[in-house]
Amino acid sequence: MATFVDKFPDEAKVVQASFAVAFIALGIGALFGLIQALHRTNVLRVIDSVDYYTLLTAHGVLLALVFTIFFLVGLFTWAVTRSFGRALPDIRLTWAWFGLMTTGTVLATVAIVAGLFPQIPMSADVLYTFYAPLQAHPIFYIGLAMFIIGTWMAGADWFLAYREWRGENPDSRIPLQAFMVLTTMIMWYVSTLGVAVSVVFFLIPWSLGLIETVNPLLTRTLFWYFGHPVVYFWLMPAYLLWYTVLPKLAGGRLFSDPLARVVFVLFVLLSTPVGIHHQYVDPGIAEGFKFIAMTNTMFLLLPSLLTAFTVVASVEHGARQRGGEGYLSWLGALPWRDPAFAGMALAGLMFAAGGFSGMINAGMNINYLVHNTLWVPGHFHMTVGTAVALTMMAGTYWLLPQLTGKAVYSRPIGLLQVIMWFIGMVFMSNAMHRAGLFGVPRRTAEPQYQNFDFVAAVGSVGEIRMQIAFGSLLLFLSVVLFLFNVAATWADDRVDTPVDDTIPEPLSPSSGAPLVLDNLALWTGIAVLLVVLAYTLPLASIVNDAGLLGGSPTFPVTVSLEWVVDVTVGALGNLSLDSLAGVAPADAVADLVREVRR
């Protein structure tokens, strides 16, 4: 039986290559994650605490950007080719964006990992958010820029495929998977503008020494302009799989094609004008702008709740067709022993729980309680770390056979792996949320302080540390099993029928969807308008306040600590002690810094 690799061998190679890069990043990122979890819980410290931030940066960049987005470009290439039923316009363009993205990834990763080797005068310990005035080596920013431009070219590739298909099918509805890809890319073009401006106009010239200062609030706001939509950029491949593949895996059909289109259009409109909700405690942005961002964010719950209904109803359809009965006992009729199904279903369940903490994060006054605590990593390990990552791993078990013509090496290992991930994340994420409520900070190598103990309302801090360490160990072992299974599949021989790759028609087909949903230009226009409304005044206010380039001293993490200490001591010396009456005296802090320096 001909599957994807037989019909589109060239495209299958690109998708395989993209997945390969994604999985290498997953392996390295997961190892660094384990080292961090053991380090900050004080279970096992194999690295210096200064190197913690190098690993944290690598963990964030390799998993949140490289793993997710390389999987995305592979999945979208598969989806566009499959749903248009035609080869991509020019495979050289496809390889070109793959090459550019990979080169950018290698450059950025080298800059980060070089931080572990003192003899190499290069580092980029600026964390995934690369907030100025922390300054990375220029090739970190240049690598990131190449990576982003590569994704733009990939989008262009898919839009060219759409144009060719449209030329031959002037009156057809855009196939659902292609519609999802195109709308996601529109969102991506609108949102990456922010990070592109930040990196190309400010951070690269600044790291090269062409300009002396940047306005940290401006680059940080531009980062979050991109930083929230990027979470939907990770999530949309998972949604694509949940909407178009999960119902099939469950033995059913998608409940409603029009509803799926509405959800993706809502993400185009609402993903970007909400980024300021990541800056609720940022003192340079007026409360009113934050309130607008909060309102937009609450609207953004709508497409996710629509998804909860549509996807669960589609899965229920499968269960009923498989003989399921009753109000809840139908759940038992689902193919739980299929790792692709079980993984995606558990990922969806975890996403529902992530919705709880997401609603807390979104509310401005409640956010103050958990901001910058371990609660926040607890939240995003449920969403990107499970809803997205586990769906991608589970999806791989169904996709890889189509891309290689080889059956998955071991279904039981696959099943064990996805369940292990889920259980590991229940331990780690739940403990992180609770630790956050006690006030344990995030982004910290040694969250232990002299003469201060975190007070646990329920349980103990030690118990929470053990849960985090144990959970992270399960997660790492799950990745090891996954990578083994994938590598063994790749090394296997081809078989005639590696997988059942058909996707049935939705119960409510696209013919019932209003035509306006396919009007991509209209949605792009409205999305841009909403962004202009949400961001013009805050950005104008930030630039008015401190200028385009600001005046903050630079904190390069590319050079020795000594320089940073000098700047810090200088800045502390300039503080007015009067304004700090009653607070920890600045002199004491300055003394402490001098001591650290010695």
């Binding site: 109803a313 359809h317 067709q321 809840l328 193919p335 056979p401 998955v408 279904r411 005639d496 119960l507």
Partner: protein, 93 residues
Amino acid sequence: MSAEPDTEAGDVATPSGDAASENGPPIPDPESVDDEGYVIGSGRSGIVRRIGHDDFDPVGTLVLIAIYMVIVGAMWIFMYFVEFLGGDLTVIG
């Protein structure tokens, strides 16, 4: 919920089925399946009836979403007691 076998949606897919219905070509031969019915992606091999659009009543989905909403509501009330009742109002203006 009413359902009838072999409705307009096409033949029920079986491991030996040969109909290229709207659900696509037949699924793999059980011989090539390591554990019957559980080749990855073969959820439809367990289908025992066809349920069309008009026959499908997602009442189980309603139950699950109701449970979700009850949890959200209960946690919201719980949060009010824990975070606000004991302290002063949080000023946002």
